[in-house]
């Protein structure tokens, strides 16, 4: 009870940040919109999808999955900053549950990402992206995206607690790009060299992107293989596995602050 209450107070702290400094979240959203425009209109004309379909319809779900994954960076940075400034130590010296700090992070980052997702959906609809399925499937698609964000949140908490120097966040900032591009988020795996395509197909990001395309009724760029038949199941399984791995690792990293 006190843990949840403290977690909520820490979530409110982040919400207060946005009121104080609205440019940080606005810049995040502008960045997503910029990527959308670059890929949708600059590169989009040169991209043909296996299985056919409009690239903009293919791209939007990919961008959504990508922005969920990129959230790992803001989570890790926020955790590392608090640790560096001694704020984490202050929290640890207070009579609050040991899960409060992580809960506050989860509350704040999930709210932030839900907002980002909303902007991408509205922005997408404005540039011609369409949902052609039923509302229930579309809702499931949104839930799968948030599930991915939830999973990478714990990766971010783990990284932020484990590597507290500024170098760690810099590494995350660089690494999210190859991981993001080596997936079906932007281009179909079937247009890649076979070995690379196989790696991309097994990227958790690809599972979510493809599942979300199927659920929104968008072209998937997939004509065969594991993603064709099992994307939705993979989009459930991958985040759950990542969460199951990184929640205990995060808890361990938090305990190791006592070492």
């Amino acid at each position: 009870m006190t843990t949840i209450r403290a977690g909520w107070i820490l979530t409110q702290r982040e919400l207060a940040h946005w009121v104080r400094e609205p440019w940080a979240p606005i810049f995040g959203v502008l960045f997503s919109i910029m990527l959308l425009l670059v890929f949708g209109f600059l590169f989009g004309g040169a991209i043909t999808l296996p299985g056919g379909g409009e690239y903009i319809d293919y791209l939007l779900p990919g961008m959504m999955a990508l922005s969920m994954m990129f959230g790992v960076e803001s989570t890790a940075t926020a955790m590392a900053n608090d640790a560096k400034k001694g704020i984490t130590d202050r929290f640890r010296s207070m009579p609050i549950g040991s899960a409060s700090v992580a809960l506050g992070r989860v509350g704040a980052d999930m709210t932030n990402s839900a907002f980002e997702l909303l902007v991408l959906i509205v922005g997408g609809l404005l540039v011609g992206w369409r949902i052609t399925s039923d509302p229930a499937s579309a809702a499931l698609a949104v839930l799968l995206l948030l599930l991915l964000r939830f999973a990478v949140l714990w990766i971010g908490i783990f990284l932020g607690l484990s590597f507290r120097g500024g170098g760690a966040t810099a590494a995350v900032q660089v690494l999210v790009w190859p991981i993001g591009f080596l997936s079906t988020a932007i281009v179909s795996a079937e247009t890649m060299p076979a070995w690379l395509g196989a790696i991309a197909a097994w990227n958790p990001l690809s599972a979510t992107a493809t599942a979300v395309r199927q659920l929104f009724g968008n072209p998937t760029g997939v004509t065969a293989g594991i993603l064709q038949d099992g994307a939705v199941w993979l989009a459930l399984a991958w985040p759950l596995v990542l969460t199951a791995v990184f929640v205990p690792l995060s808890a361990r990293a938090y305990r190791r602050l006592r070492a």
């Binding site: 006190t2 403290a6 107070i9 820490l10 409110q12 702290r13 207060a16 940040h17 104080r20 400094e21 560096k84 400034k85 001694g86 704020i87 130590d89 202050r90 929290f91 640890r92 010296s93 207070m94 009579p95 609050i96 409060s100 602050l257 006592r258 070492a259």
Partner: protein
């Protein structure tokens, strides 16, 4: 009745013994200075007493509660002020205090009232709504200390609170610390500066290599260090030894800098000048200064130093 008790604390980091048999007894309501150079283990000691780290050995209690087995009770009775001002820079001063107050378990209205009270005590009412990033170093530190005092703790840990502050901000923080102690809170203050401990603490423990090497009132400790020093710089190197000889047993010569240092214990400043006059020597420079921490350590770690 001791508010802080540490007995035989040990904590290793790899090959380094950060705490190596650390003992401390601090009575209620005093400012106790924990003095030592960088790496002496001061921060580790504070973190152990504030329930932030696990100990390898030893036992400690704060306000009557065991730091190992009753951490939750200890945390309700302490305030921790670390080396960095651990406040949220984006939020305003008031927002910070309300947030920390609520984390301490105060209700919303209660937390707001307490925040306003603290802001006025610490002279931050005018800046209450401004983002902390616009605060000066001294203001930030005061806000930081205010956050640690929201629940009127039995013990306040201050880990090098004036490191990195300019003299004016340092004086502000000193005044604050004196006021806190006057209200009955026990303060454990770590510092690298002898004069800071001297100014604030009624008792000082000198720490080195993970343990206390000397303890006493500032006056008692200074007796080990000796009195003020006079440093003379002479123009001619070949006269150093002859002049030093006349200045008594405490005079030490440094040939490279052409200086003689004399303790002002038996010798008075007037006496020294008279001696120089008699010898027909006019020094290029004459400086009167307090003992440095280096000299304190040399004195305190020498064999005749009393524990």
């Amino acid at each position: 009745m001791h508010t802080l008790i540490a007995e035989g604390l040990r904590k290793r980091y790899g090959d380094l013994a950060a705490l190596d048999g650390f003992d401390l007894h601090v009575p209620a309501g005093v400012i106790h200075g924990l003095l030592g150079p960088n790496g002496a283990g001061k921060t580790t000691a504070v973190k152990a007493l504030a329930t932030l780290i696990d100990l390898d050995e030893g036992s400690a209690s704060v306000a009557g509660f065991d730091v190992r087995t009753q951490a939750a009770q200890v945390r309700r009775r302490i305030g921790l002020i670390g080396q960095n001002a651990a406040v949220d820079e984006v939020l305003g001063g008031r927002q910070n205090l309300v947030m920390f107050g609520r984390l301490y378990g105060l209700g919303k209205t209660q937390a707001q009232e307490r925040a306003d009270e603290m802001l006025s005590i610490f002279g931050l009412s005018d800046a209450a709504e401004k983002a902390v990033s616009t605060y000066s170093g001294g203001m930030r530190r005061r806000l930081d200390i205010a956050a640690g005092l929201l629940l009127t703790p039995a013990v306040l840990f201050l880990d090098e609170p004036t490191t990195g502050l300019d003299p004016r901000a340092r004086n502000e923080v000193w005044t604050t610390i004196r006021e806190i102690a006057a209200r009955g809170t026990t303060v454990l203050l770590t510092t690298q500066y002898l004069d800071e401990a001297d100014q604030l603490a009624s008792e000082i423990s000198v720490m080195n290599h993970g343990k206390i090497i000397a303890q006493g009132t500032p006056t008692e400790l200074k007796r080990h260090v000796g009195g003020d020093r006079v440093t003379l710089t002479l123009a001619l190197r070949d006269r150093l030894d002859r002049v030093a000889e006349k200045l008594g047993p405490t005079a030490t010569v440094d040939e490279d800098t052409r200086t003689i240092t004399v303790e002002l214990a038996g010798e008075s400043l007037a006496g020294i000048i008279r001696t120089l006059d008699d010898l027909g020597v006019t020094p290029e420079d004459l400086q009167l200064r307090r003992p440095t921490l280096d000299e304190a350590f040399l004195a305190l770690t020498s064999p005749e130093a009393v524990r």
